[in-house]
Subunit: 320 residues, 3 copies
């Protein structure tokens, strides 16, 4: 079956998930992002690559933070950006998702950045566009349900490559609520695709997907064992609804077992880096001395995230 | 009495309603829109006609869809766009409408795009600006109460002219909730002004204004009779509050009598076009095979709508 | 102690409060604003001073009006503007204020315009940026709690200087709810810094800070006495929550004692000007014939406010 993210020439035309994306495409995205990092250091932080193009931020689920990163990336590419919080508009007027999309395509949208609580919504939109011959309109998944968050996965990969150069000999641990995390899922797919030596999933059994090993990871419920010898530690955000839910005893107890402290981090390699997708719950999944410590690369992740999103949007806009 | 929409030289300076707008002015708007349609097909979809001008989207009533079309049109003209949802701001702080306007004029607004639940609000603003010598500030009505939605009327006229060339020999049917529809009102005024041979209003008597014939239309309560021999069928959206209200039995029954199906559409001419202002209620006022069928020009309406709004804004900005 | 608003060369790098700002710096801001007033009268109301810079409007407290003035000022300087209503986003996800700031700095923010219900929040952000060596990132206080609203104070100063030329011989009265007003506080600091001959605070004792004289003002509870011989009358907005509260009997009674009528205004000098920060409560703190009268400079205040904000942002952006 043809990969719906690639056009007939094998170029990236939608970014829906890292699952099944060829390693060369992932590497091209990371390579393309590289020069965009330094644009941010210039006096005028703009390039004209998307000048006159319309980027629609379609957020069916609220996320100021992710929306902002795409808005900045698009504006830095000189695009016109239209923010649509769909929760409060047509969707609630009974219009179907695909009617909304057709309307925006008729307004000459070039790129849809889609956030949706339903897994698969961006994929459905991309299929619909392809089925109707809209090759010049592109979709970027900005997080769909528990499914995928591919630009977050890509910025995580970029960060790891930046600090560790190659994936081949690395041991990477992803810690926390793997079960509900689209961030974890996207990162794990990316890491395995790029040939990471060992990927570990660390967390309580109640927050671990069934058959997590099928994703190509080693599972640990003991955090100290799991961190032993790691090069990279990726902490996941603990959603507050989980804290109150039946799956966990309390934030305090969670912190005791799975919160990243300097003492637990000492199990990892001395030069291990610490990552977090944000926003952080200090004192729940991560201790402040670690978050603000010298091994933390949490803020560089954010900077690289803008560059990676610029790379993705400029690549898909030039695919036809 | 002087037409408040025209300046001393007879140029369009505000767009408030199609009622009473001279046919030449309407035709000039449609002619001006024409080249803007093809801008959307260019690589860089921008012209510098409103560069350095400030367009304020003043939405006292929420409408993401309409606001978006104006935002795109203004950005494509290179204007700076400021979106104000007034519901949640100064208006609720006890400031009067005209004080809000005066303040925004003092911030050097050039164009106000106004949506308001009160009929006549845009007219009041235009009068106020004229009375205070603000000739360089312009108002576009983006829908006021049940009164008018002139840019929707203009895009409907553009669409009809695009497909049918001339209005002289046409029979156009407007179907549904005529009573509450500013869209219907604006379109009917436009059609009669441009000399359309016959305009029909089709709908249940409870959703028909008293003395609807005074608008220059023939009334039909039987949809099949009303559609017979039509060149253009314009379906209106059935607001969900009507569906639940006392004026109608149920959405299902409404569909049975006034929903546009292929079987009912067969009464119209074989080359009749089908229009709808959106967002559609599929299965209520229109059947999916019709909405998605080859006679549907619903999505081209949206595209033409951007061009028409660009035309209106560029014309009024050059009037002084 | 070093003034946190100035860099090592004494240039303005943050604007947090007018308290303690050297008079030369205030005068430089007013002088810098002057040419920006006339930009608004040009055909293309833009200058490229902030081209490629990112201005973040961080509004932890909703204020469409103030946000709009900063948005216009930034766009007129050609900046990219990102509006963040933080109430509904990361802040509510448990992220700390300073983590939010660090993240936005990592996205290469250049200027933060901060509105916050907590007094001192902008100061805290500025301190944090300085402590972490972020010299190229700047903070403008757009109103913090009851503390300060320095751009409002500056536009008030600009307006007074525009109409009265010099502060040396002026008597300026500030009337109303001095106690809760950051506007009053900032203006009083500015007026005393620039050597205004006499500053008066007029209002009921319940709405007057304790030891108001320590601010360098003369207190009056009788409005007629307080207005006698004034050159400038600055009316404050009466927040509706005060009207209902225990501090005041009723809006009607307030108007009787402290509402500015033409009769009360007759106590001031014949060429006295009337100011108000907006939005006005007509019939509460100000009578319509005064608000709309020839001595009112309320709308010029708004116009000058855009220019003053352009001045502040362009000055801090060039400090390093």
């Amino acid at each position: 079956m043809h990969n719906p993210q690639l056009n007939a020439r094998g170029e990236l035309t939608h970014l829906l998930t890292l699952e099944g994306l060829p390693p060369d495409v992932i590497r091209t995205i990371l390579d393309t992002a590289h020069p965009f990092v330094s644009i941010a250091e210039r006096e005028v932080k703009k390039v004209p690559l998307l000048r006159g193009k319309a980027v629609f931020n379609l957020f069916f689920e609220n996320s100021t933070r992710t929306r902002t990163t795409f808005e900045i990336a698009a504006k830095r590419l000189s695009a016109d950006v239209i923010n649509l919080n769909i929760g409060s508009s047509s969707a609630s007027k009974g219009e179907t998702l695909l009617d909304t999309i057709d309307n925006l395509v008729a307004m000459d949208a070039d790129i849809f950045v889609v956030r949706h609580s339903q897994s698969g919504a961006p994929h459905l939109i991309a299929q619909h566009l392809t089925a109707h011959g809209r090759k010049h309109v592109h979709v970027v998944n900005a997080g769909d349900g528990r499914h995928a968050h591919p630009t977050q996965g890509l910025l995580d990969l970029y960060t790891i490559r930046h600090y560790k150069k190659s994936f081949r000999d690395l041991t990477v641990a992803v810690v926390g609520d793997i079960l509900h995390s689209r961030v974890a899922r996207s990162l794990i797919h990316g890491l395995t695709t790029l040939g990471t030596a060992e990927v570990r999933a660390i967390g309580p059994r109640t927050l671990m997907p069934e058959r997590v090993e099928a994703l190509g990871v080693r599972m640990f419920t003991d955090m100290r064992l799991g961190l032993a010898g790691c090069d990279v530690v990726v902490m996941l955000r603990l959603q507050s609804e989980r804290m109150k839910g039946a799956l966990l005893p309390s934030p305090g107890e969670y912190f005791q077992y799975y919160g990243l402290t300097q003492e637990k981090l000492a199990q990892a390699k001395p030069d291990a880096i610490v990552m977090h997708p944000g926003p952080m719950n200090r004192g729940v999944e991560i201790d402040s001395p670690v978050a603000d410590g010298e091994r933390s690369v949490i803020l560089p992740q954010v900077t690289f995230g803008i560059a990676v999103r610029m790379a993705v949007m400029s690549m898909i806009a030039s695919a036809a």
